[in-house]
C-alpha cells in the first residue's frame, strides 16, 4: 500500500543479524504517523523462519522473494530482488541498516530505480506528510535534515543503534506475501568463492561496550591490557587512527572519521586525546569514560566520566575491581 513503511530484514547463515529488528520499532512509529502499516521485506533461499520472527517484532506484513540463487548473501542478487519488490509495491519509505550488507543492497536498488537515498540516518520523523530524515554531517558537528521532494519511495539506511529495539511478542504474526522473481546465476557478475571468518571477530558497530586505545598507549602491548578488559566486559576493542597508523592494531579496529562510526552504551577511551576526527566516530556513545594523563586533553570535554592518570595503573585496577564485583 502507498504510505506503508518497509523495513529490510538483514540475515546471514539463516539467522537474522543481531539488532536487525531495531528498524521495526521506528518503522512502526512512522507508519502510525501516516496511518499506514509497517511491513518487512526479506530475500533469501528459505524465508519462512525469518518472516515469522519479523512478525513477532511487529511487522504486519512480510513481503518475500525466495530462491536458490539467494543462498548466501550476494549484494548484487539481493539488490535486484529488493528493487523488484520496491518498484512493484512503492511504499513511502524503505529502511535498511547502514551496515555493509544493508548499504550495498540499498545503494544498488536505489540506483537501479533512480530513487532517492539518504544514508546513515540518525533521526526519522513524519513532518508535514513526509518523512524527515536527519543525518550527522562533518563529524557530528552539524545535523542535516532532508525530505524527499520526488515521488516515493524514498530509501534510507539507518545507523545501527540509532533507535531502540522493538519489543518481541511471539503471539503476533504477519501475513506473508511471497513474490516470484526469477534470477539465474548467469544473470549475475559476482560469485562468492569463500568466507574467511575473522579470528578476533571485531564487530565494533554492534558492540555495546568498546574499550579503545590511542597514541597514549605507547606500544602494541597496551592493547593486550585493553583486550583483557574488553573480554571481561563482553566488549570489543577499538582504536584511534594514531594507534592504527603506528601499526599497533589492525585497521578494522579504527574508530573515527576514516574508520567506523560507533554508538555503544559504554565507550572507554584510554590514551586518546580526542581529536575531532576521533570524536566524529564515537561522540554519540551513551556513556564515555576518558582515561588520559593530560588534564587538558579534549576528550575530557566529551566524557561522561574523566580520569586524569596513567591507563597502565588505572586499567589493571579496573580489571581487578570488575572481577571481584562481577564474580568473574
Amino acid at each position: 500500500m502507498a504510505n506503508d513503511v518497509w523495513v529490510y530484514i538483514e540475515h546471514k547463515d539463516g539467522v537474522i543479524t543481531p539488532m536487525s529488528f531495531e528498524l521495526l520499532g521506528i518503522g512502526k512509529q512512522l507508519a502510525d504517523g501516516f496511518g499506514s502499516s509497517v511491513c518487512a521485506f526479506v530475500i533469501g533461499d528459505k524465508v519462512d523462519d525469518l518472516a515469522k520472527e519479523a512478525g513477532a517484532f511487529g511487522a504486519t506484513k512480510v513481503y518475500a522473494v525466495e530462491g536458490e540463487v539467494f543462498k548466501g548473501f550476494r549484494g548484487e542478487a539481493y539488490a535486484k530482488a529488493a528493487a523488484f519488490l520496491l518498484e512493484k509495491y512503492k511504499p513511502e519509505i524503505a529502511l535498511f541498516r547502514a551496515t555493509s550488507m544493508g548499504t550495498d543492497v540499498a545503494a544498488a536498488a536505489a540506483a537501479q530505480l533512480g530513487f532517492g537515498l539518504c544514508t546513515d540516518t540518525i533521526g526519522l520523523a513524519v513532518d508535514g506528510g513526509k518523512v524527515k530524515m536527519t543525518r550527522a554531517a562533518f563529524g557530528g558537528n552539524y545535523s542535516v535534515s532532508v525530505v524527499n521532494e520526488k515521488a516515493a519511495p524514498q530509501i534510507a539506511t539507518v545507523r545501527p543503534k540509532a533507535f531502540a529495539m522493538g519489543e518481541k511478542d511471539a503471539s503476533k504474526s504477519a501475513e506473508v506475501v511471497k513474490e516470484s522473481f526469477a534470477l539465474a546465476d548467469a544473470d549475475l557478475a559476482t560469485k562468492v568463492v569463500e568466507f574467511i571468518k575473522s579470528a578476533t571477530a571485531v564487530n565494533l558497530v554492534e558492540a555495546d561496550i568498546i574499550v579503545s586505545g590511542g597514541r597514549g598507549l605507547g606500544s602494541d602491548a597496551g592493547f593486550a591490557m585493553l583486550q583483557e578488559l574488553a573480554d571481561l566486559l563482553g566488549g570489543a576493542v577499538g582504536a584511534s587512527r594514531a594507534a592504527v597508523d603506528s601499526e599497533w592494531i589492525p585497521y578494522e579496529h579504527q574508530v573515527g572519521q576514516t574508520g567506523k562510526t560507533v554508538k555503544p552504551k559504554i565507550y572507554i577511551a584510554c590514551g586518546i586525546s580526542g581529536a575531532i576526527q576521533h570524536l566524529a566516530g564515537m561522540r554519540t556513545s551513551d556513556c564515555i569514560v576518558a582515561i588520559n594523563k593530560d588534564p587538558d586533553a579534549p576528550i575530557f570535554k566529551a566524557a561522561s566520566f574523566g580520569i586524569v592518570g596513567d591507563y597502565k595503573e588505572i586499567v589493571p585496577k579496573m580489571i581487578e575491581k570488575f572481577k571481584s564485583k562481577l564474580s568473574r
Binding site: 513532518d127 524527515k132 568463492v193 568466507f195 585497521y251 570488575f322
Partner: protein, 265 residues
C-alpha cells in the same frame, strides 16, 4: 587494460567546517582542500594494477573548477589521462546524480575494464557512490575491497577480498567491475618534484553536462531527490564528572558507576 579511478576533492580533514546555513551548502571560502583520503588508496591501487598488469589509467573527478588540483596530483603520479566533470548544473548533486555523471564520464573514456574508488568520502560520508555507479553502469559491484588478488583482463575476470562484518569474503567477478577500496589496502606513494613540475604544465580537460550527454534535469540541485529542510548544531554533551582521589578509590567508583548502567552482562 583500461583502468579508471574516481577522485573527489574534499575539505582538509583538519579544517574547520562552516555551513552556509541559509543556502544549505558548504561554505568553501578560505578552506584548504585535499584529495579524499580514501581515494588516495584507490589511486595507488590503480597505479599498482597498471604496474602489475600493464594498461592505462584515466583519473576522473567531478566538482568545481578548483577540483582540477586533485587531478594534477594524479598526473604527477603518472596517470595517463585525466578529466574533470564540471558544470554549474552539477552543483548540489546527490549520490545518485554523482554516480550518473561519473558513469557518463567512464563511458566517454571508453572500454574501461575496472574502476577504482575510495570506500567513501570524508565530507559526504555516504559511502554509496561506488555501489550506485556499478548499478548505473551495469558493472560488477565490488565494495569494501581489502585486497585485489588477481585481474585477468583477457579472460574478463577479477578476484578480490572484501572486508565485511565478521571476516573476509573472497569474490570472483566478471569484468568490467567497480572496486571500492578500504584504507590499508596499500601504501599510497607521494609524487616527486619532477612529476609535480611536469603535471603543473598540463591542461586539465573539462567535461560539461553537454560533453557528457547527461540529462540536466537528473543532475545537480534539480535532480536531487531530497531537499535540505534544516541544519542544526547538536547540543554539546553535558560537562562530565572528573573522578578524583587515589587510584584504588577511582577504580572503585568508576566500576560501580559502569555496573549501575546495567549494560555489562
Amino acid at each position: 587494460m583500461k583502468i579508471a579511478v574516481c577522485l573527489k576533492q574534499v575539505p582538509d580533514t583538519e579544517a574547520e567546517i562552516k555551513w552556509d546555513i541559509p543556502k544549505g551548502t558548504l561554505s568553501r571560502d578560505g578552506m584548504d582542500s585535499i584529495t579524499n583520503p580514501f581515494d588516495e588508496f584507490a589511486l595507488e591501487e590503480a597505479l599498482l594494477t597498471k604496474e602489475n598488469y600493464d594498461g592505462e589509467i584515466v583519473a576522473i573527478s567531478m566538482g568545481p573548477e578548483g577540483a582540477a588540483d586533485v587531478l594534477r596530483n594524479a598526473l604527477a603520479l603518472t596517470v595517463d589521462e585525466v578529466a574533470l566533470c564540471t558544470d554549474d548544473a552539477f552543483a548540489g548533486s546527490d549520490t545518485y546524480s554523482t554516480a550518473y555523471v561519473l558513469a557518463a564520464a567512464i563511458k566517454k573514456a571508453g572500454d574501461v575494464d575496472v574502476v577504482f574508488t575510495g570506500k567513501q568520502s570524508t565530507d559526504g560520508n555516504s559511502g554509496v557512490v561506488a555501489a550506485e555507479l556499478a548499478a548505473v553502469l551495469g558493472f560488477a559491484p565490488l565494495t569494501y575491497v581489502s585486497k585485489v588478488r588477481s585481474i585477468d583482463a583477457a579472460g574478463k575476470k577479477i578476484v578480490v577480498e572484501r572486508a565485511i562484518e565478521g571476516g573476509t569474503e573472497v569474490i570472483e567477478a566478471k569484468l568490467p567491475a567497480v572496486v571500492s577500496v578500504i584504507k590499508g589496502i596499500n601504501e599510497p606513494r607521494l609524487p616527486n618534484l619532477m612529476g609535480i613540475r611536469k603535471a603543473s604544465k598540463i591542461e586539465i580537460p573539462k567535461w560539461s553536462a553537454g560533453d557528457l550527454g547527461v540529462d540536466a534535469g537528473k543532475v545537480g540541485a534539480a535532480g536531487a531527490s531530497t531537499k535540505v529542510v534544516e541544519i542544526a548544531v547538536p547540543p554539546p554533551r553535558g560537562a562530565g564528572e572528573i573522578l578524583k582521589g587515589e587510584i584504588e578509590e577511582i577504580a572503585n567508583t568508576i566500576t560501580d558507576k559502569l555496573i549501575d548502567l546495567k549494560v555489562i552482562k
